[in-house]
């Protein structure tokens, strides 16, 4: 490995003359850091080789776990070398190889340079640590979870999985915006491929497509941001970029404060972030993305990829701060709050536990954005960090349930799972996750959410318009969150034990998937027949339990991973107490990076500082929030207990049902996701489809029609002239005579 570490970069990185020399404060990082992204890529390639060799074993999983683990270790090594376990001293760039280099002059801004290089600072490493760490764990989990697919599907899954980690590392570690974009689109691709993993399910294919396209809308913003950044600063490499931004000047030295770029570059980036992190109005893809295998949901759609938007804004925070009016940040704050609330209301009414988790992810991402918007990158990053662990735990628990109950995810059909034989670890892990998500006092989620909530009241409305309103919305959402989280817990994991297996029961034991795990032809035949059989035998798929079905309790890998994650979720709270002046370890990591917001004092000067400091009902928000949010969380849990546990005797019926009548159609609307998908379909998709059809018709009739008409003209003329060739001598003679006269007349007329 050492040999590779030394040879590979040298081989790839033959530094050309005139290539970018890192800025003054930015040193050269360890060249072997490039292994962090390359190891997953290698793993992916090896899985591809496995697919080519039609390997039918768990080899790909071992490869991926090993490589990702190595990648995690490499990340840790970079971190430790750079001054860990605390934050790193500064930033450094590890040059991989020249990627895009194109110069059209020698002056500033006359070269487009985007190398395959890594920007190593605390923020990057913070993200990379949990990305690679979680990825390793989830890959381990998946090695068992996906075991029914051993063969081509298994190979494919792990290839994509590792590729995702590669893309995510590029996104996070890239030292320039195009490399970020490479990762950005790369994770989108892997998300697309993994959502569509069960590619025979039309819903999965549709969901994958939706995810990619909605993300592309966000990407458009990102691309515009990149372009504008380049034109403004003449570079898209972080090191020189942040240098200029730090000085508040553009590439030619003009001050940027008050310029339109200072307003619009952040807005462009913000749009990109909204797409990737599923914020209003681009959140619609994330719930559908649950069509993918659960480990994917856990890693990509909960812990890592969806936080890329947060990362982007955090990474570009200096640019966001350039705008004195904080337009973009205000939008970010409000969008975050509204997304959090909207997703929470939808989550309350869902029955599919994975979807509830998906909406809770959207909602929690809303918190993170609100945090970014109200100038607490620390809070946002901390929430990203804690959320990554507990949400991964939650998803993996859901996955275990799904795995064990043949794809059953409906909370009306499961009950008391935690007390079934072999499900103890899952139950405990689920409880830990739920407490975190609900913001139960002294959990990690509690601290991170508090930090954001408090900051909403700290940040004065004069800086971020309506910051305290954002806070109130988030407080409300916190209650809702606690409610729907524990709704799941009380319905599924505790209470009387009963279950109905999912539709995947009854054939090919524990098969979730009809992946091409067999050579074409042979297995397909069996599978198709089996499916037909299943459809004939079991219409509807809802059958009474006990029909020779036994829940499949999770095995060692799943339990181990769940245990580790549950413990990690708990321990994440402890990081709040180290580096206390920086609001915990995460805060320290953020503070020592470009995402550091020096506080209003530094930012706005002393005179405005304390005068504008906000308060929460006259109290210091930081202190008050410890109590307020704890109370709100507990109230939510209590309500859930009242409505979904107390006196519940079956799986399908809960005390809450009695309330439904009182609320009218609202729960149904909420369950229908407030008809947002339908609205989009009606307002955007349908008109666009109609427009496309119109264009198609125009193309056929008018654009091509004119061409055809032009093509027909000679023949038409010919047909018109043909009677002149009637074969009669005297008519020819008349034609000649007439022609002579005509020409003479023309000449006479013209001259």
């Amino acid at each position: 490995m050492d040999a590779i570490a030394t040879i590979l970069p040298t081989f790839l990185a033959a530094e050309p003359a005139g290539a970018h020399a890192p800025g003054a404060q930015v040193g050269s990082g360890p060249p072997w850091a490039i292994l962090i992204p390359l190891l997953p890529l290698l793993a992916s390639a090896l899985c591809g080789v496995c697919a080519m060799l039609r390997v039918k074993s768990k080899a790909p999983a071992f490869i991926v776990v090993a490589m990702l683990g190595a990648s995690f270790l490499a990340t840790a090594a970079v971190w430790l070398q750079g001054g860990g376990p605390g934050p790193m001293a500064g930033a450094s760039v590890a040059h991989g190889w020249d990627w895009i280099q194109f110069a059209w002059g020698d002056g500033p801004g006359q070269a487009l340079i985007a190398n395959f290089s890594l920007y190593l600072d605390s923020l990057t490493l913070l993200w990379m640590l949990f990305v690679t760490g979680l990825a390793t764990l989830i890959a381990l989990y998946a090695s068992e979870y996906m075991s029914h697919d051993v063969g081509q599907g298994y190979n494919r899954f792990f290839a994509y999985f590792a590729l995702f980690v590669f893309a995510m590392s590029c996104l996070v570690m890239g030292d320039n915006l195009l490399m970020l974009f490479l990762g950005w689109e790369g994770v989108g691709l892997c998300s697309y491929l993994l959502i569509g993993y069960f590619y025979k399910k039309p819903s999965a294919v549709a969901a994958a497509k939706k995810a990619f396209i909605v993300n592309r809308i966000g990407d458009l913003g990102l691309v515009l941001g990149v372009f504008t950044t380049f034109v403004t600063f003449g570079t898209i490499e972080y090191a020189p970029l942040f240098e200029m931004v730090g000085a508040g000047v553009d590439g030619s030295g003009h001050a940027l404060h008050g310029s339109w770029q200072a307003t619009w570059i952040p807005i462009f980036f913000m749009i990109g972030a909204f797409g990737k992190s599923a914020q209003l109005p681009l959140y619609v893809w994330l719930p559908d993305a649950m069509e993918g295998p659960t480990p994917v949901s856990a890693l990509i759609h909960a812990a890592t990829m969806v936080t890329a938007g947060v990362y982007l804004i955090a990474r570009m925070y200096p640019i966001f701060l350039l705008d004195d009016a904080h337009t973009a940040l205000t939008i970010v704050a409000w969008t975050g709050a509204l997304t959090a609330l909207l997703a929470a209301t939808i989550g309350m009414a869902q029955f599919d536990i994975k979807r509830i988790m998906a909406y809770s992810t959207v909602s929690q991402l809303g918190y993170m954005f609100a945090g970014l918007g109200v100038l607490t990158t620390t809070g946002a990053a901390f929430h990203v960090f804690t959320h990554a662990f507990f949400k991964a735990t939650l998803f993996l628990c859901c996955g275990a349930v799904m795995h064990g109950f043949a794809g059953q995810l409906d909370l009306r059909k499961l009950s008391g799972v935690a007390f079934m034989k072999g499900w103890g670890v899952v139950g405990v892990a689920m409880l830990v996750g739920c407490l975190n998500l609900a913001g139960f006092p002294f959990t990690a989620g509690y601290f991170s959410k508090d930090m954001i909530l408090a900051e909403t009241f700290v940040t004065p409305g004069s800086v971020i318009g309506g910051a305290s309103m954002v806070g109130w919305i988030l407080l409300l959402t916190a209650g809702l969150t606690a409610y729907y989280t524990f709704r799941v817990f009380f319905r599924v994991f505790v209470g009387p034990q009963m279950y109905e297996p999912g539709e995947e029961h009854g054939h090919a034991p524990h098969r979730h998937d009809h992946g091409p795990g067999h050579p074409p032809g042979h297995g397909e035949h069996d599978l198709a027949d089996a499916r037909d059989q299943a459809q004939k035998d079991e219409p509807g798929g809802a059958h009474p339990h006990g029909h020779d079905f036994h829940p499949h309790a999770p095995g060692l890998a799943i339990n181990a991973v769940l245990a580790i994650l549950a413990v990690a979720s708990v321990l994440a709270a402890l990081t709040y107490f180290i580096h206390k002046p920086d609001h915990g370890w995460v805060g320290a990591m953020v503070h020592h990076s470009t995402a550091h917001f020096g506080g209003l004092d530094a930012h706005h000067g002393d005179e405005a500082a304390h005068a504008s400091h906000g308060s929460f009902l006259g109290l210091d928000p930081h202190k008050a929030m410890y109590y307020v949010s704890a109370v709100i969380g507990m109230v939510g849990i209590f309500v859930a207990w009242l409505l979904h546990y107390r006196g519940r005797t079956g799986a399908a019926v809960a005390p809450a049902d009695r309330l439904l009548g009182a609320l009218g159609p609202i729960p149904r609307w909420a369950q229908q996701k407030w008809f947002v998908d339908e609205l989009y379909d009606f307002v955007i998709v349908k008109p666009l489809w109609a427009l496309s059809n119109v264009f198609h018709v125009i193309d056929k009739l008018i654009v091509d029609g004119l061409v055809n008409l032009a093509g027909l003209t000679p023949r038409g003329l010919g047909a018109g002239l043909r009677p002149s060739q009637n074969g009669l001598l005297h008519s020819y003679a008349a034609g000649m005579a007439g022609g002579i006269v005509f020409i003479l007349l023309v000449v006479w007329a013209v001259s």
Partner: protein, 550 residues
């Protein structure tokens, strides 16, 4: 060297035509490989450190003296890259058609190979006669390939293809001849070539720049008539979907891969340096047309039912990016455009291969009859998705670099408010609106992939599932031409080089970008000179001095 490269396909074509029918494939394969080898040697001999210069020049006098026509061949970095692309696609096309063409293989392969010569010739031409010869002569082989080996409506398609492009290029000829005449007679006596009738591009390029604005505009129009049809740009694109749907697979591959590039190459090589004044004046209009074309054709793709037609329309949309980059009139845009030509050739060519492989097996390309083929043909599915992603412009694959640079070029162009901007006729609005084309392309390409590759398996009647047994299907397929259910080794061998190149160009595009810096800058010199409003006199003096220096 250049002449030898051109002659190889001619000789090979004659050999194929003369050989017995059962040997045609083998000879064609060998000939195409020889051609590819020659282009590789050409690429190796080319001194990439002087990529802006035209190297390996060879001039042949059809006759010396006044009125004699001297034809010249030489290559610069841009031409060499495009020739390499041509060379690469040639053997792939031949090997890709081994089983697809069973009827009259000699005719097919002879014409297919013969087509390579004029295509490479266009990129080598250093005089208008050679250029125009080759430009036009591509029509005949393509016409034959479509008309003889196409699908049901092939005759109409081939005629439309021929007439449409022929009409356009007649206008181009008029424009080019006008320049020749201008050089010979109207140029000031101390000018480059007053009194001498020459077709050499270098001389004419200098001469034509001294034409008046309105003259340049007319010449621009004349040139666009030919090149825009060939490219094809909206709204003169309608021959392309028809031609593509009817053409045999190899025909489509060559058509998309190289033939369309003749149009963009014409724009690059002739329009930009020849009539800079008019280009600067009219670039915004052309930019608007490109943007409209990108979105218009992209949306039309979405409602197509025929996979091949969809990809054909996507070519229209994609080449809109290419031309937009070109008319950004800055280095990034031009380089992006050249890269786009290559990348589009690779990825769209490969897509046509993929579709052809399906057509060979199922004899349909309708998305209503095909679906979920990933279950039946995972290897094919992999390639299909891979090339689709390259076409969508996924970073890390080749399509991205060209697309982003074209967009960036358009965005920068005229964005003088920033240090990273360049002077130019377009601007952020062009780049921004065109960038929505990225979304559109994702919509239609993923729609196609979602239908054809993913989703529940659907095969036309008489195939696969309908028979019930996988083995039965295999036998069935055997009857259709010895094709396995999934791709054969030969087919994988055809697609793999393309995929590898997509990956290499995506991950290490510097190899293509660095050699482009100098030629692109040289090509833009004239436009720059016209546009430097700051010091127009100086710039013009520079151009004239350059001209007088001749």
């Amino acid at each position: 060297m250049l002449l030898a490269t051109l002659l190889i396909p001619v000789v090979a074509a004659l050999a194929v035509a003369a050989a017995p029918a059962d040997q045609a494939r083998r000879i064609a394969g060998a000939g195409s490989l020889a051609f590819f080898g020659a282009t590789l040697i050409l690429g190796a001999m080319f001194d990439w450190s002087r990529s802006a210069e035209f190297q390996m020049a060879s001039w042949f006098a059809l006759s010396a003296g006044e009125g004699g026509v001297t034809v010249g061949l030489a290559v610069d970095g841009v031409s060499t890259m495009l020739i390499l692309l041509t060379g690469l696609l040639a053997p792939l096309c031949v090997f890709g058609s081994f089983t697809a063409v069973s009827d009259r293989p000699r005719t097919f392969f002879a014409w297919l190979i013969a087509l390579q010569a004029p295509m490479a010739g266009v990129f080598m031409a250093r005089d208008i006669i050679t250029f125009y010869f080759c430009f036009e002569f591509t029509l005949i082989p393509m016409f034959v390939l479509i008309a003889l080996f196409g699908s049901s409506n092939r005759r109409a398609a081939s005629v439309k293809f021929f007439l449409y492009t022929f009409t356009g290029s007649m206008m181009t000829l008029a424009g080019l001849v006008y320049i020749v005449w201008f050089n010979a007679t109207r140029l000031a006596p101390d000018g480059a070539g007053a009194g001498a009738w020459t077709f050499a591009i270098d001389t004419l390029m200098r001469a034509s720049r001294s034409m008046s604005g309105s003259e340049q505009a007319w010449v621009l129009l004349a040139m666009m008539a030919g090149f825009a049809v060939k490219t094809p740009l909206f709204p003169v694109h309608t021959w392309l979907p028809l031609a593509h749907t009817e053409a045999p697979t190899a025909g489509s591959v060559v058509l998309a891969g190289v033939l369309l590039k003749l149009g963009t190459y014409g724009l690059y090589r002739f329009v930009l340096p020849f009539v800079p004044e008019a280009v600067v004046a009219w670039a915004p209009l052309i930019g608007v047309i490109c943007v409209i074309g990108i979105l218009y054709a992209g949306l039309i793709c979405w409602v197509q039912r025929d996979v091949k037609k969809l990809v054909a329309y996507s070519s229209v949309s994609h080449l809109g990016f290419c031309v937009l980059g070109l008319f950004a009139l800055n280095a990034v845009g031009s380089a992006g455009s050249v890269l786009y030509m290559i990348n589009h050739g690779l990825s769209t060519g490969a897509l046509f291969f993929c579709i052809g492989m399906i057509y060979e097996r199922y004899h349909t390309r309708s998305m209503q009859e095909l679906g979920g083929l990933a279950a039946r043909m995972p290897v094919w599915a992999f390639f299909m998705v891979f090339f689709t992603l390259s076409s969508v412009g996924l970073p890390g694959l080749n399509g991205f670099i060209g697309e982003i640079m074209c967009l960036m070029g358009a965005f920068q162009s005229g964005a003088t408010w920033g240090v990273g901007g360049t002077s130019g006729p377009l601007g952020p609005w062009f780049g921004g609106v065109a960038a929505t084309g990225m979304i559109v392309s994702a919509i239609y390409l993923l729609y196609m992939v979602g239908k054809v590759v993913f989703g529940p398996l659907k095969e036309p009647h008489g195939h696969g599932g309908a028979h019930g047994h996988g083995h039965g299907h295999a036998k069935d397929a055997g009857a259709h031409g010895a094709l396995p259910v999934d791709l054969s080794k030969r087919e994988i061998a055809v697609l793999t080089p393309l995929a590898a190149l997509c990956l290499v160009l995506g991950l290490y595009p510097v190899i293509a970008l660095r050699p482009l810096e100098a030629p692109v800058a040289a090509n833009l010199a004239a436009v720059e000179a016209v546009r430097s409003v700051v010091a127009p006199a100086e710039a013009l003096a520079g151009v004239e001095a350059e001209g007088a220096g001749r």
